[in-house]
Structure formats: structure tokens, C-alpha cells
């Protein structure tokens, strides 16, 4: 076991982690622990843009952006946080430009902007050009630019280090962050990082689903670690399905395509979004478009031999727009479906995309252990966190914005917290849980295979907890997930070695996925209404009287009969306790959501 000491430890090197690192690293001694080389992070797969009311191409202001974010989130958005994000968006984009990000330009040489789903002029009057972009590679450019600036500032990275636990030290005032425990992929060694503050920026958990735009690495490790400490996860039932995944594959095709004028059509060629969102049509928020697409298919108007997808029609955009503004998605359609968007409509269907929920934080990125108590020294930002700026449904581009605004805030807050303080003692034997997990898996001889359990999990989640849900489907999902957790207890990995043992890590990641799938399903069962990304066929309406509130899911920790049991692997019969947290309102009264 190796021991390290840093003022600030950042876990994860996607957009949020590196934006935090640029701030923290210039203020105090900082280390970034990342399970991937930083440029492999999934921020790089984001395509369409980052919204900010720069008003470079038409009238716009941050208040309209705030309103759209709140309405887009089906009024579950915390309005104070949304206002901060929309205001700071402008500087966030300008900061990136000054760091070198190669945005597309207007004829005058300013940052160009384009339309995006749910972003409107003057509270819903028409679609507005708000998304700042670099072709359909905006996420790639953000990730590269942030990494470049980390290189410039000499940020210290520990690449291919998997953080599997955090150290929390008990004090009379409650738990305080004191470090993180990591597994080094190259050697199999365990490293304890003592730190004054810890920032979680580990991303989402899309791999609970089969059809997803998410990378194989998005297994919710940060949320899972937090949850297993008995700490709450907020709004886990709200999972976004991006409308335009390549049919059958889930590979993302940006909403920017519709921003540039592409149209969704059903089998007969009808522009069906005119029926569901008469004003902004194909540029309605993602939850509405995804539901509409599923309804078209369920009602028999789907396209293809099995009538199980719809079309994204880009043919009228012309080769030049596709090659210059949407080059990557054009290539994806050609490579993976053999369809050329210049000449043919592209088969698309909703794909699991983004967790609105996660580790509850305040607007400074400080992690909460209940509705409002901060865990000193612990921060979260990006998809792993729930501020909540996205409410029940995130608007397109607001994730790239979120990582920049709240990544920066968390980095500053973590550094300032660390600068004024001494190290807190680590808890006794801080690596115990990780050692237990790893040793258990290295020696386990059960008959269950990781791939079988993961496939079964993804199948039940796709079938029972995706765009539309009912009491029955969710109960089925819960039964399945719990049965899989039981099987997980009998798992064995093939690779018993130390070096680059990805077999062992996939087993650990699967454990996180199972925990998070259960949290999603339990909170979805309890929310007997339809709101944003959570659509219940049996409760089709929004119910503000009973459900205008965030859910807070706590894992009930097992009574610890055996203090030496490897917690992460045996605590699986635990129940989940639900609590609720009020939504923050400032300017906007909830209204019926029409587009």
C-alpha cells in the first residue's frame, strides 16, 4: 500500500474534474485521480454545444436562459442554482475561448451560436440561437482545451487509478472528508490519498442500460461510493433518454442536427413533432421528443422492418452543412449503419444518456449528507452531482455548461477550504473496505459471471425502467435487480493477477451499477406522477401537490454483525429509505408545460 498527501484530491478527469483542477491546481497542491487517461473521458463525446446568452447572433439574455432551464426541468429545477448557471454561462464560454477553444465563428469573427432543444426567445416564443459550438465536436474541444490547460499549469494526474472509496473521518459535528482510496490498474496496488478536500467528478452511470450513448466506463463509481456510505442520492428516478441515438446501437446523434434544421419523421414521412409541440416542434426538450418517438412506435407508425424506430431526416440540409457543421454524426451514420445522411434519412431511437440525479450539492459544489447539511471538505460537480440545475429533465447543452460552471465553483471552493485548514486524521485502517473488495474478488470461487449479470441488468432496465414506466414494469425491474444482486454475491473473476486486471475492476463496477439501478427503480416506483424524464403510463400527469419535491434515497446500511466482512460485496440485502427535499423557487411559478 502506498500513501500520498495532497491538499485537494479531484476524482475524475472529464470536463468537471479538469475545470476544477485548473482552479484548485493554481491555488494549492492538487492531484487528479482518474480511471482513464484524461482525454478518454466521456465529455469528449458531447457534440452539439454549450449554451450561453452571448447574444452574438440575435437578442438573448440570461434570464430567458434561466426560464428555459427551469421549464425544461419541468419545474423541479432549483431556481437559484439555474439562475447562477445561466448568468455564469457567459463567462464560462468566454473563459474557454480564452483558454484556446476553437469555437465556430460568425462572419464577424465572434463565437457562432445555433438553436438547440428547449432554448427559446422571450419565455417560449420561438427557438433561439444560444448554443456556442465547434462543429459537432464541442465536447471533444472542451475536453482537449481543458487538458491542454492542465498541461500548461502542470496539474498532477494519476492516470488509470480507480477510486473505490472515500475516507470520511467522524467528528463530534459529523463526518468530514479526509481522503480517497484508489486501486492502481497497472500494478494492482492500493493507494491511500490523504487530502483536506476531495472533489468527486466521476460522471454518470448510463451502463445500467443496454442501449446507451454512454461509454463502457460510465459505471457510476462516485455515486456508488457515496451511496454505500449511507449518504443520500437525489432525484435518481430522473434519467434522460436522448431522442436521437442510432437505432439499435445507441450512438449519439446531436440535437444540433435538429438545431440546424433536421426533422424527425415517422414511417409515412409525417413530421410528427408538429402534433406534440406545435410551436418549437423538433426542438422541444428531450423528454418530450423521446416520449413522442416512443408513442409513434407503440402506435404502429414506426419505420423499418420491425417498425421499431423513426427517421432523422437531414437530407434537405445539403452536403455542405452536414460536412462542415455536423461532420462526426454524418460519419457515425455512414460507419455504423451504412446510411448516408446526405441522401437518406437516418434510423434513430431514444438512447439512455444522462442522469439528472446524483450526489446532492449546494451551489458551491459542497456535498450534502441530508437535505441541507454539508460534509466539510467534500465536493461534487458534473453529472455525478445534483445541484439541481436540471430538475426532471436537462436541456441539451446544459451539461457542458454545468461541468464548466460548477466544476470551476467546486475547484475554487475545495482549494479555499483546504488553504485555511490542517489535515484531518484519516480514519483507522482507511483502505480496509477496498482491500476487502479486492481480496474477496481475487479469491472468490462462485459460479456467476460478470458479463451474464451485467447483460441481464441492462436488459431488464431497458425493458422496464426506460422512457415509459408503470408500477408493474418497475416492480419487475426491482425483482430482477435484487435477484441479480443476490447472484452478484456469488461472482468469480477469471483474472487473479495484479497487472492491468480489468476483469476484477469490471466486477467492482458492476456492483456500483446494481446499487444505482436499484436506487433508480425504487425512487421511480415511489414517484406516482409523470414529470420530465420520468414518464409513468399509470400516472400520466404531473402532480405538484404531492411530488413537487426532490427525492432523497438513502441506502440502509446492514447491521454489521461481522466487522470484517467486505462491505461492498455483502451489504446487498439492504433496503433503501426515501426522503424528500423541497424545490427552491425564486421567480417562476409552475405552469403547465407546453411548447
Amino acid at each position: 500500500m502506498q500513501f500520498h498527501k495532497y491538499d485537494v484530491v479531484i476524482v475524475g478527469a472529464g470536463g468537471a474534474g479538469m475545470r476544477a483542477a485548473i482552479e484548485a491546481g493554481q491555488r494549492t497542491r492538487t492531484a487528479v485521480l482518474t480511471k482513464l487517461y484524461p482525454t478518454r473521458s466521456h465529455t469528449g463525446a458531447a457534440q452539439g454545444g454549450m449554451c450561453a446568452a452571448l447574444a452574438n447572433v440575435e437578442e438573448d439574455n440570461w434570464e430567458w436562459h434561466t426560464f428555459d432551464t427551469v421549464k425544461g426541468g419541468d419545474y423541479l429545477t432549483d431556481q437559484d442554482a439555474a439562475e447562477i448557471m445561466a448568468k455564469e454561462a457567459i463567462d464560462a464560454v468566454l473563459d474557454l475561448e480564452k483558454m484556446g477553444l476553437p469555437f465556430n465563428r460568425t462572419p464577424e469573427g465572434r463565437i457562432d451560436q445555433r438553436r438547440f432543444g428547449g432554448h427559446t426567445r422571450d419565455h417560449g416564443k420561438a427557438a433561439v440561437r444560444r448554443s456556442c459550438y465547434a462543429a459537432d465536436r464541442t465536447g471533444h474541444m472542451i475536453l482537449q482545451t481543458l487538458y491542454q490547460n492542465c498541461v500548461k499549469h502542470g496539474i498532477e494526474f494519476f492516470n488509470e487509478f480507480y477510486v473505490l472509496d472515500i475516507a470520511l473521518t467522524d467528528t463530534p459535528d459529523g463526518p468530514v472528508a479526509s481522503g480517497a482510496i484508489a486501486y492502481e490498474l497497472a500494478t494492482g496496488e492500493i493507494h491511500v490519498f490523504q487530502a483536506k478536500s476531495v472533489v468527486f467528478a466521476t460522471g454518470g452511470f448510463g451502463k445500467v442500460f443496454k442501449t446507451t450513448s454512454n461509454a463502457h466506463t460510465l459505471t457510476g463509481d462516485g455515486m456508488g461510493i457515496y451511496f454505500r456510505k449511507g449518504l443520500p442520492l437525489e432525484d435518481m428516478e430522473f434519467y434522460q433518454f436522448h431522442p436521437t441515438g442510432l437505432a439499435g446501437l445507441g450512438i449519439l446523434l446531436t440535437e444540433g442536427a435538429r438545431g440546424e434544421g433536421a426533422i424527425l419523421r415517422n414511417e409515412s414521412g409525417e413530421r410528427f413533432m408538429e402534433r406534440y409541440a406545435p410551436t418549437i416542434k423538433d426542438l422541444a426538450p428531450r423528454d418530450i421528443v423521446a416520449r413522442s418517438m416512443v408513442l409513434e412506435v407503440l402506435e404502429g407508425r414506426g419505420a423499418g422492418p420491425d417498425k421499431d424506430y423513426v427517421y432523422l431526416d437531414c437530407t434537405h440540409l445539403g452536403a455542405e452543412v452536414l460536412e462542415t457543421k455536423l461532420p462526426d454524426i454524418t460519419e457515425f451514420a455512414r460507419t455504423y449503419l451504412g446510411v448516408d445522411p446526405v441522401h437518406e434519412p437516418v434510423p434513430v431511437y431514444p438512447t439512455a444518456h444522462y442522469a439528472m440525479g446524483g450526489i446532492p450539492t449546494n451551489v458551491h459544489g459542497e456535498a450534502l449528507r441530508d437535505n441541507d447539511t454539508v460534509i466539510p471538505g467534500l465536493y461534487a460537480a458534473g453529472e455525478v452531482a445534483c445541484v439541481s440545475v436540471h430538475g426532471a429533465n436537462r436541456l441539451g447543452t446544459n451539461s457542458l455548461l454545468d461541468i464548466n460552471v460548477f466544476g470551476r465553483r467546486a475547484g475554487i471552493a475545495a482549494a479555499e477550504y483546504a488553504q485555511g485548514r490542517n489535515f484531518v486524521d484519516l480514519p483507522e485502517n482507511p483502505a480496509k473496505l477496498v482491500e476487502g473488495m479486492v481480496n474477496h474478488l481475487r479469491t472468490a470461487t462462485g459460479g456467476e459471471r460478470v458479463a451474464d449479470i451485467r447483460t441481464a441488468l441492462q436488459q431488464t432496465m431497458d425493458a422496464n425502467a426506460a422512457v415509459y414506466r408503470t408500477e408493474d414494469t418497475l416492480k419487475q425491474a426491482l425483482t430482477d435487480v435484487q435477484a441479480l444482486k443476490e447472484r452478484y454475491g456469488r461472482i468469480a473473476v477469471h483474472d487473479k493477477g495484479k497487472r492491468y486486471n480489468t476483469d476484477l475492476l469490471e466486477a467492482i463496477e458492476l456492483g456500483f451499477l446494481l446499487d444505482l439501478a436499484e436506487a433508480l427503480v425504487v425512487t421511480a416506483l415511489a414517484r406516482k406522477e409523470s414529470r420530465g424524464g420520468h414518464a409513468r403510463e399509470d400516472y400520466p400527469n404531473r402532480d405538484d401537490t404531492n411530488f413537487m419535491r426532490h427525492s432523497m434515497a438513502y441506502k440502509m446500511l446492514p447491521e454489521q454483525e461481522d466487522p470484517d466482512a467486505p462491505l461492498g460485496l455483502t451489504g446487498f440485502t439492504a433496503d433503501i429509505r426515501l426522503d424528500y427535499k423541497p424545490v427552491v423557487f425564486t421567480r417562476y411559478e409552475p405552469m403547465e408545460r407546453k411548447y
Binding site: L36, Y37, T39, R40, S41, H42, G44, A45, V93, L94, E97, K98, M99, G100, P102, F103, N104, R105, T106, P107, E108, G109, R110, I111, A134, R137, H140, M141, Q144, Q148, N149, V151, K152, N159, A186, A215, H216, T217, I251, D328, F332, T335, Y336, R449, V450, A451, V493, H494, D495, G497, K498, R499, Y500, N501, T502, D503
Partner: protein
């Protein structure tokens, strides 16, 4: 390297979907905990024409041998994790489809998979990426600008933005650098990817660090080592005109202007 002396494996546990054909995947395996040197192993796996080579590796790892180690993340050609030699050519495993590898006239298809060359192999398809990133960092791959920052964005014309567009696409997968015969022979050469990333800034109208970067690339291990073999351009999964970018950097050095 020829594929000889491989062992056969029981692959009956791999699910065989309707329409799949059996193909042989030969992988250059190496586990330094057990092996003294790399050796070929052979796996007969069911594959759909639409499968990516990455899917085949997953099936082998999941159902035949969990010790098989390879990097992967996004699985659609954006993250740059899974550069490897496929049938001897550097490709991303997630961007090569089985249908493009199938043997003609119904013969049995064999696909060989080996780690990229020029970087030390750590285990199976894992190579040590540190030397690669070290060369990248050495060219100052970030915007260098002096003077006061403007309040708003810097102004850049569409033509100036277009000038370096090609090299902004780099995903640092190392397919180009590890296809370069000069890099194989001399690991202290910066390699194509580092030069591509220098180009991205040298030709950015906002940047004022060209001279520093050109000085670095004028070094003995710099841009002049390039022998214009075009391997790098052929290998780039993003379609970057790598050799052209290197030539443009050479020209900037010769004529002292960008």
C-alpha cells in the same frame, strides 16, 4: 510478425446470434506475470457483419478468457482508447466492422490483433502511453497569448478558424505515432501526434507561441526526422492529413513564417 504456434480455445460459451458467422481472431497475448515473451492465441468466435472488432474482444474476454486486457471506453471512435494493430494496420477496434474484414468467396476469415508498436507492451493490448504523452506535452500544446485579455472573446475570422481545423480533430489515440517507422527506430523522435498538436496552435491566429514551438520542433528529434512515408495519414482514424500538417510545420521552419 507471423501468426504461428497459437493455441485453440473453447469458445462455445459465446452467444451466437442469428446471422453470425464464425471467424478466427488471433491475438498477440502477453502477460508479464506469466510469460517471458508475447505469443499468439487463436479464438474462433461468432460474429455479425455489423459487429465491431471491439465486440469480438469483449466476447473473448467475457466468455473465454477474462484475463484478456485492452483499453476501451466510448466504443465509437471518439475517446481514442482502443488503437491496435488489426490485420497489421493501426486502427481503432471500435471503428472496424467485421463486414469489412470478411474473406471473399466464403473462405474462413482470420483477423489478427496486436498491440500498437513503438510503445512498451504492458499486458496484451495495453501499451505504456507515457512516452507518447510526454512528447505531446513537450510541444507546449496550449494557447500561448501575451498582453491583456480582451473583455469578450478574441475575434477570429472564419478563414483563420478554418486554417487549423483539421488538426483540432486529434484524439491522441497514438495510431499515427505508433505507425511511424522513424518512431519505431528512435523513440526520442516527437512523432506525428505531437507535431499535429503543435500545428494546431502554430496555425491558430490567436496564438503567439509559434516561435517557441518551432524552436522545439527544429531540434534533432524534431520535425526533420519525418521521412514522409504517409503511414501516419493512413493510420489516422479521424482522417487528419497528418503528413501534410508535418510538411506545413517544416515549411514554417524553412521560411520562418506561419
Amino acid at each position: 510478425m507471423t501468426a504461428v504456434a497459437e493455441n485453440a480455445h473453447d469458445t462455445s460459451q459465446i452467444p451466437a446470434p442469428e446471422g453470425s458467422v464464425t471467424i478466427t481472431v488471433k491475438i498477440l497475448r502477453f502477460n508479464p506475470e506469466l510469460d517471458t515473451e508475447p505469443h499468439w492465441e487463436s479464438y474462433d468466435v461468432p460474429a455479425l457483419p455489423t459487429d465491431r472488432v471491439l465486440n469480438l474482444l469483449f466476447n473473448i474476454k467475457n466468455y473465454v478468457d477474462g484475463t484478456l486486457a485492452f483499453r476501451r471506453s466510448c466504443a465509437h471512435g471518439i475517446c481514442g482508447s482502443d488503437a491496435m494493430q488489426i490485420n497489421g494496420i493501426n486502427r481503432l477496434a471500435c471503428k472496424v466492422l467485421v463486414k469489412d474484414l470478411l474473406a471473399k468467396d466464403g473462405k474462413r476469415t482470420t483477423v489478427t490483433v496486436a498491440p500498437i508498436k513503438g510503445l512498451p507492451t504492458m499486458k496484451d493490448l495495453y501499451v505504456d502511453m507515457e512516452p507518447f504523452f510526454e512528447a505531446y506535452r513537450a510541444v507546449k500544446p496550449y494557447l500561448i497569448a501575451y498582453g491583456n485579455e480582451p473583455t469578450r472573446e478574441r475575434i477570429q475570422s472564419q478563414a483563420d478558424r478554418e486554417r487549423f481545423d483539421d488538426t483540432t480533430k486529434c484524439i491522441l489515440c497514438a495510431a499515427c505515432t505508433s505507425s511511424c517507422p522513424v518512431y519505431w527506430a528512435d523513440g526520442s523522435y516527437f512523432g506525428p501526434a505531437a507535431i499535429v498538436n503543435a500545428h494546431r496552435f502554430i496555425f491558430d491566429s490567436r496564438d503567439e507561441g509559434s516561435e517557441e514551438r518551432l524552436d522545439i520542433l527544429n531540434d534533432a528529434e524534431g520535425v526533420w526526422r519525418c521521412r514522409t512515408t504517409f503511414n501516419c495519414t493512413d493510420a489516422c482514424p479521424r482522417g487528419i492529413q497528418v503528413t501534410k500538417a508535418i510538411q506545413e510545420v517544416k515549411r514554417a521552419l524553412l521560411f520562418k513564417r506561419v
